[in-house]
């Protein structure tokens, strides 16, 4: 029983363990890129750390700190995290393109896909929570 709780806690902390370094990496990536961009800046690059922070780290912290929140289904987690990754990478590409003075429709497609994945993951999780509430009376 004790081991099972430990595993659950470990699973709950996985998001924090992944998103914390990703957020720091994005901030450092901007600082390094900024040194080579001759003063040209893009908000998408400057605030690259925001998507993993707001969409990844903060929800993971809430899930970790509030154990009573129902467990997120694996499908929901996979889809949602894929959305966070898509949005983050799309923001990075947008920043690179804006600094270079160009654009790409493929980057926009990725952003749209990321938002759709985020929404899908959140909806699946919400449905699971509702189902859990109904089943528990």
């Amino acid at each position: 029983m004790y081991i099972s709780d430990e595993k659950i806690a470990e699973r709950r902390s996985l998001g924090v363990k992944v998103y914390a370094p990703v957020t720091v990496f994005c901030a450092i990536f901007f600082l390094i890129y900024d040194r080579f961009s001759h003063g040209v800046r893009s908000p998408y690059m400057t605030f690259l750390f925001v998507p993993p922070l707001v969409l990844g780290l903060l929800p993971s912290l809430i899930i970790y700190l509030l154990p009573r929140i129902p467990k997120q289904p694996a499908v929901s987690a996979d889809v949602y995290h894929a959305g966070v990754a898509s949005v983050t990478v799309s923001s990075m590409l947008r920043g690179i393109f804006e600094i270079a003075g160009t654009s790409s429709s493929y980057q926009e497609y990725l952003m749209v896909a990321g938002v759709v994945l985020l929404a899908a993951g959140a909806v699946i999780y919400a449905a699971a929570i509702v189902k859990d509430l109904i089943s528990s009376g």
Binding site: V40, H81, S103, Y106
Partner: protein, 362 residues
Amino acid sequence: MRKKFLFPLIFGIILTAYSTFTLLEAFVIPSEIVYLDDGSFGGESGSNADDDYLTNEVTANAPESPEPPAETGGEPSGGDTMGGDKDDSPETTSPGTSEPETTDETTPEETEPPAPPEPIITENSYICPEFSVTITTVREYDTDIYVADVVLSDISHLKAGLAKNAFGRNLSEKTSKIAKRLAAVLAINGDYYGFRSRGFVMRNGYLYRDSVQKGSGHEDLVVYSDGKFEIIDEAGSDANSLAENGAVHIFSFGPGLLRDGEITVDEKSEVELALKSNPRTAIGQIGPLHYVFIVSDGRTDKSAGLTLLQLANFMQSLGCDNAYNLDGGGSSTMYFMGKIVNNPTDGWYNGERKVSDIVYIG
């Protein structure tokens, strides 16, 4: 455990591949290519302009081929700083070296058409009946600024050249190489249209692209067949209408620096949020068929570079009515008679950057 990480693994691979493709598509892979017939003008396809207009415009303003000007007797080349083929290039700085040979013995003087006056060529100038080019170097704002004063007899001598003899994204060549191929006397880099997928592109009377750039505030330079410059807001304009109204060239970089003698930028105006002094390339009109091509150094210990406001002030001091900022930074290059005039650098690498197009006199 394996199953748990299967989806993230596969998705990670797909995301990496997609991102790599997106970067390559934007920066490396050539696309939307329209090959030119003769290196100067558009081919059979790729235009959105009215075909009759195009025919008329090209006929009216275009030279028949990109051959060297008759006055020079060959490609005005010979600089040491450029690669490429220059075997048959004459020396550039001696007025007599490009004189074509005459055939007095075989042709009677009575039937010989009058020979065109020889161009007067010095290290910093080129004067012929069709146009004159005079280059001076000015030290302003802790920066070396190269000013090419250009007077034309006809706007057809103000031309544009495309890298690889073709229109398309990610096609690039060094300014000097394009200039040599087109036998340019004077050339500067253009608007690097090939780096963007949208924005008006018209060259030598041929409309290649009529899509409007996303966002607001994009200004274009329109050069009309009477030699007049006009700076327009791209979002409120129609490229085909401009073509019908006599446009010969449309450049889409910007911003405009001067409109009717008034400065249209301020200290906060910059290209893509760049808040630094940079190497710059600009073109301005002083009067009818009288222009200046400007290239400044920058990003070096010797030259800080210019802000857009400094550039606008400088061009106003030269007497420009309308002036327009072209692609700058590492792209900024001025070529004159086979030599690179400025010191191109992107701040890390010294030397010419490949660009997608040039503006030249020839």
